[in-house]
């Protein structure tokens, strides 16, 4: 078997194992709730009758043996039966899908903005190494990484209140209904999510560029008389982008964390609102399914980045 194929097979086995582990942990979630999860779910509802408790228990599937519960649950999920939300009666997958679209749009726009801003800045920072500018870049990027994105959102709101009081900052409209209105609503949230990502990326690009500027082929290019801008932009940057691509897997974590809290600042109906709402309403099945689906998506993204990495960089295949 060629080395590349063997590596992909190995990764695929790892992937299945991790997905299995993730499903077990997520499955156990409701079962680990101290006390009777069904009683807690019904909460302060005045009309709790033993019949209702039992009906809900059966609906959530908590009345069967544990192992059987898992197989019924995972079987339903794998055949696309995600059930209906406990309180709204809408299909769970619809609620999660609608929320995921908002979070996904926010994350992708923020990532795109971050890449466009961070790659040139990172190159510049690498180039200005060991000068006073380097220290400035360092302090600014560390501050950028540690800026709470929800605070940034609030500060941006304050600035907009003062400068352009007429700007629409609340009230989500889907992109397909009103593209311009949607982008206007998303502008501040995207900026808030993107800034910490920019800071992270600048550092990654800087380190990768420093590494690749020190390589022999860069020296060779310079010795051949290749112009400085071509050396930096073509020879060094291309190699430097490999570690940057892999870091996108890590960045998706930051993107999600940023989006979830920033959604709350701007009252966007995304995944953050969905999961926090699910906890407040004690809608455990909705919480469980959301966590499982989002995590599975994450695992898949990381898997693809891994594969992409081996495709881009032939050194890894060996």
């Amino acid at each position: 078997m060629p080395a590349g194929l063997r590596l992909i097979t190995q990764r695929l086995i790892d992937l299945l194992f991790i997905l299995f582990g993730v499903s077990i942990l997520t499955f156990l979630m409701i079962r680990l709730i101290p006390g009777d999860a069904v009683q807690i779910m019904l909460g302060a509802n005045a009309e709790i009758t033993p019949e209702r408790v039992e009906a809900l228990r059966a609906q959530v599937g908590l009345d069967r043996p544990l192992v059987e519960q898992y197989f019924v649950w995972i079987g339903d999920l794998l055949t696309g039966q995600f059930g209906t939300s406990l309180w709204t009666g809408r299909p769970v997958i619809e609620e999660i899908g609608a929320a995921a679209v908002v979070t996904l749009e926010l994350s992708l726009l923020a990532l795109a903005l971050a890449i466009v801003v961070a790659v040139p800045l990172g190159c510049l920072a690498a180039y200005a190494r060991a000068s006073w500018l380097d220290v400035v870049v360092r302090v600014v990027t560390v501050a950028g990484i540690t800026i709470p994105s929800f605070w940034l959102g609030i500060v941006l709101l304050l600035i907009v209140f003062a400068v352009a009081p007429g700007m629409q900052t609340f009230g989500y409209v889907p992109f397909v209904e009103d593209p311009l209105g949607n982008l206007q609503i998303m502008a501040l949230p995207v900026l808030s999510v993107a800034l910490p990502i920019v800071a992270n990326l600048v550092r990654m690009v800087r380190t990768a560029m420093l590494d690749s500027l020190g390589q022999d082929y860069v020296r060779t290019a310079r010795a051949k008389g290749v112009g400085e801008s071509r050396v930096v932009l073509v020879h060094a940057l291309r190699a430097a982008l490999v570690p940057v691509v892999t870091s996108i897997g890590i960045l998706t974590g930051y993107l999600l964390a940023g989006s979830i809290v920033v959604e709350k600042v701007f009252t966007l109906p995304g995944l953050g609102r969905l999961v926090v709402g699910a906890i407040e309403e004690r809608n455990y099945p909705l919480l469980q399914t959301s966590i499982l689906l989002v995590t599975a998506t994450f695992v898949l993204i990381n898997f693809l980045v891994d594969i992409l990495y081996t495709v881009i960089d032939p050194r890894i295949r060996r």
Binding site: D14, F17, I18, G21, V22, I24, L25, T26, M29, L32, I33, P34, A130, V135, R138, V139, V142, A143, I145, T146, I147, P148, F150, W151, I154, V155, L157, L158, F161, T252, G253, L256, A257, I260, V261, K264, V265, G272, V275, V276, A278, I279, E280, Y284, L287, I291, V294, T295, F298, V299, N302
Partner: protein
């Protein structure tokens, strides 16, 4: 003592600045009750939503509570939660990583697989899920952050420990009959201190941000206990009237997280000769 003094003198300025910054922050966090001019829960009803003044240097919130005092107490609890979570995950994750690296085989396989699964969850989502199980609150937050960071420490320690295990000096010590526990504690752990310090510092910074995020979402510290994340969200509804608590509590979070991240960053450079100028 003189050795410590010498180490301090030989240190690069930037690292010394970072250490001093974190030291000041720890002192502020510990001494918060002494520094706070007001009781953080006292409601000065007449002075509700007022701006900075002599009586209330950073203004008051919608209940007339002193913002500076609440920030100091919130700062303290952020530090405590982050510290407890990071210390716990270092202890458990670090030990698991060490054992996995040292004993290899099945121990390694089981520990590594378990850590891979925990690591697969996006940090914020796993923390939210754990709080979903335990119910919102300070203790849940601490536990959630602790669990989320456990696989990170396990990985941080496992890699370098695997290398050290095969190092010549370890083989030499083993050949003279040292027992496993002694090799691990006296010869492997001391060589991991650098990596652990860097990771601990960076994760302290991240934990402060996660704690603030969870409180901001209403899942962490519950009102009326002062918490930086909670102050941000409480102030959000009165932004146009009195942005003080939102602005200053956010700055406090930024300041707290910055110190540890900066320290971790400087330590990493110091320990990695390739990055040193």
């Amino acid at each position: 003592m003189t050795a410590a003094l010498k180490a301090w003198r030989d240190m690069p300025t930037i690292l010394a600045v970072a250490i001093a910054l974190v030291a000041v922050q720890v002192v502020v966090a510990v001494a918060a009750p002494l520094l706070a001019p007001w009781d953080p829960l006292y409601q000065d009803v007449v002075a509700r939503l007022s701006g900075p003044s002599w009586a209330h240097p950073l203004g008051t919130d919608r209940f007339g509570r002193d913002v500076l005092s609440r920030i100091l107490y919130g700062y303290r609890s952020s530090f405590l939660i982050a510290f407890a979570a990071v210390a716990g995950s270092l202890l458990i994750g670090g030990t698991l990583g060490l054992l996995a690296a040292y004993y290899r085989g099945w121990t390694d396989r089981i520990v590594s697989r378990l850590m891979d699964v925990l690591f697969a969850f996006p940090i914020i989502l796993l923390a939210i899920g754990i709080i979903g199980v335990l119910g919102p609150g300070t203790f849940s937050t601490m536990l959630a952050i602790g669990i989320v960071y456990t696989p990170i420490f396990a990985r941080t320690v496992r890699g370098p420990a695997l290398v050290l295990r095969e190092a010549e000096f370890v083989t030499a010590i083993r050949s003279v009959g040292a027992v496993d526990a002694r090799i691990i504690v006296h010869h492997i752990v001391p060589n991991l201190v650098g990596v652990i310090l860097v990771q601990t510092s960076l994760l302290m910074s991240a934990a402060i941000l996660v704690e603030a995020s969870l409180s901001f979402l209403g899942l962490g510290t519950q009102p009326p206990t002062p918490s930086l994340g909670l102050m941000l969200v409480e102030g959000r509804n009165f932004l146009a009237l009195a942005p003080w608590d939102s602005i200053f509590s956010g700055l406090a979070i930024l300041f707290a997280a910055f110190g540890f991240n900066f320290l971790g960053d400087c330590l990493r450079d110091q320990l990695d000769p390739r990055l040193r100028d």
